[in-house]
Amino acid sequence: MDTSVATSASKPILSVDHVAVQFGGLVAISDMCFDVHEGELVSLIGPNGAGKTTAFNVITGFQRPTRGTVTFRGTSLEGLKPHEVTGLGLVRTFQRTSLFEKISVFDNVLIGLHRRTSPSLFGTLLGLPRERRAEEALREEAWETLRLVGIEHQANEAGGSLPYGDQRLLGVALALAANPSALLLDEPVSGMNASETSRFIELLMRLRKMGKTILLVEHDMPMVMKISDRIVVLNYGRIIANGTPTEIQNNPEVIAAYLGGGVKNA
């Protein structure tokens, strides 16, 4: 079932193995299996309600699967809490709010950098130089992260006061600050205009160059087709296709699903 072409013979960094999720009688995901390899950019697409966000929730520990397991870098994520999953280097953004609205952009990123420091409590309380230096270094890293996504000019604005596109960028900055080796983005360009989207694509390209593995949920088909190494198509909680953009575009089942379910931009 693994049709990865972008990566040659590397072992998967993330494996979703026979995962199923039920909410009462509703089957949100049934028997989902797919792998993501190191450095790959994989898109998870499907009509509304297909189970994409639920898949993210399972992978990042926010949702216990009814069945199945997720493995990241050889570690089973079973029973791990979300912050522990993040601790392994698997970080996600959220489809809706992915920023602290009342907090400044800069402090948002500082919060995101939480995982980068482990200050001693007593050093902090005593105001030791070591902790001050660590804090300075952290602030420098926050600037770097802001510059990477290109919102350094709004550092002092409250997160919630940014234009919508920049809010989405801040969400990514927050996740990036947590130093992920694999980044899960849930509809990062929804609501962005064309120029914002192309700026975002450039950011994704930069992240790829940095070696980040990316799993992307997105409805913007032109973008998905353009940037993905591989696409996993979900419909009614079931994977109906897994392949390169060309393969997916020509897959009759995908076409049928998309004609049947009204997908934006499809």
Binding site: R96, S104, H114, L138, E140, N156
Partner: protein, 359 residues
């Protein structure tokens, strides 16, 4: 700017005993300071993590009793085993009181933070009630309703330096003032560190905070330990200053007083409980000459409702906003992102409310 203002205010309070000769007023200020300290500790939980402890007086009372008993000595029989404790210096008692209250904060935190919100409120209320009942019924240890009299006043110093016993009101005033300043600095450092940011992040949006790797239990329990220990410290100060305590110390009204101080002053700001503490510590003295105690409490209620109605975030954030109106810095966090010297009062990130429910 802010530092200078703070130092000026501090200098003013340092001069108070020099010109305020009235012992009763000085006494009021000492008690006000002690409750201010308790309010500061409550603010750490209520303001910075967003968890409402309605049994906060339990930590205060535990600090008071532990400190008192440590310095008074006691002998009790537990399961047929006699335990005798010889009196230790009051200062050791004070530290033990804070430690005991901090330990209780740890246990309550571990127990209650699994499920938060209303559940935490109920657990803290019940905890305070249990502790009150223990203090009332374990007569052998606490003297029950007969009160624990003769608690020695605070004594500072070491063998080599000689001792100073705080008999007078002015001495106690300065000691409490020093503890408040120290506590303020410690809380400020905590709030402006990754620890404080984690707490604020959890308050603002728990789901998102967790997604960047912040452990809910670790930071909420930490806040509860700190908050408990500081409240215990305040309780210890109270015991050695008043020199007699009884189970009335656990009355719900004391918690309510702390909550009112925090909310009117501005929860989640460093200066909030200080301002709220001053207002609601001094108000009783002003009102006492005019109206009876029952009417007083009604007036506090009205005052609080008025303040919260007019300034929903509390006094300190309102004043800050007023000052910043004309200023160049419109930074919503009040501290800006410049990597240079940052001054701020902790209303940094300290905006109330919470947003949950990501998908």
């Amino acid at each position: 700017m802010k530092l200078i203002a703070s130092l000026l205010i501090l200098a003013f309070f340092a001069t108070v005993p020099l010109w305020l000769q009235d012992q009763y007023y000085l006494h009021t200020l000492v008690v006000t300071g002690i409750f201010m300290l308790a309010a500061m500790s409550l603010n750490l939980l209520l303001g910075f993590t967003g968890q409402l402890s309605l049994g906060h007086v339990a930590f205060f009372g535990i600090g008071a009793y532990v400190s008192a008993l440590t310095s008074l000595g006691f002998s009790v029989t537990i399961f047929g085993m006699p335990i005798v404790h010889e009196p230790w210096p009051p200062f050791v008692g004070l530290i033990f009181g804070a430690l005991a209250a901090g330990l209780c904060g740890y246990l309550i935190g571990k127990l209650a933070f699994r499920v938060r919100g209303a559940y935490f409120v109920i657990v803290t209320i019940s905890f305070a009630e249990v502790v009150r009942l223990v203090s009332l019924n374990w007569v052998e240890l606490t003297n029950g309703p007969l009160a624990l009299p003769g608690i020695p006043p605070m004594t500072l110093g070491f063998e080599w330096s000689g001792y100073l016993t705080l008999w007078g009101k002015a001495q106690n005033y300065y000691f409490v003032l020093a503890v408040i300043v120290l506590t303020y600095v410690l809380i400020r450092r905590l709030v402006y560190s990754p620890y404080g940011r984690a707490m604020i992040a959890l308050r603002e949006n728990e789901t998102l905070a967790v997604s960047v790797g912040i452990s809910v239990t670790k930071y909420l329990v930490l806040a509860a330990v700190f908050s408990g220990a500081l409240a215990g410290l305040a309780g210890g100060l109270y015991a050695h200053y008043i020199q007699i305590i009884d189970p009335m110390i656990f009355m719900f009204l004391n918690t309510v007083t702390m909550v009112i101080m925090v909310i009117t002053g501005g929860k989640g700001t460093l200066a909030g409980p200080v301002v709220g503490g001053l207002i609601f510590g001094i108000a009783p003295v002003v009102l006492r000459s005019y109206v009876g105690p029952e009417v007083q409490w009604i007036l506090y209620g009205v005052l609080m409702i008025l303040i919260v109605f007019v300034l929903p975030e509390g006094i300190v954030p309102a004043i800050e906003r007023w000052f910043n109106r004309g200023g160049a810095s419109r930074s919503p966090t009040g501290r800006g992102a410049s990597s240079g010297g940052s001054s701020g009062d902790g209303s940094a990130l300290a905006l109330s409310g919470s947003g949950k429910g990501n998908s």
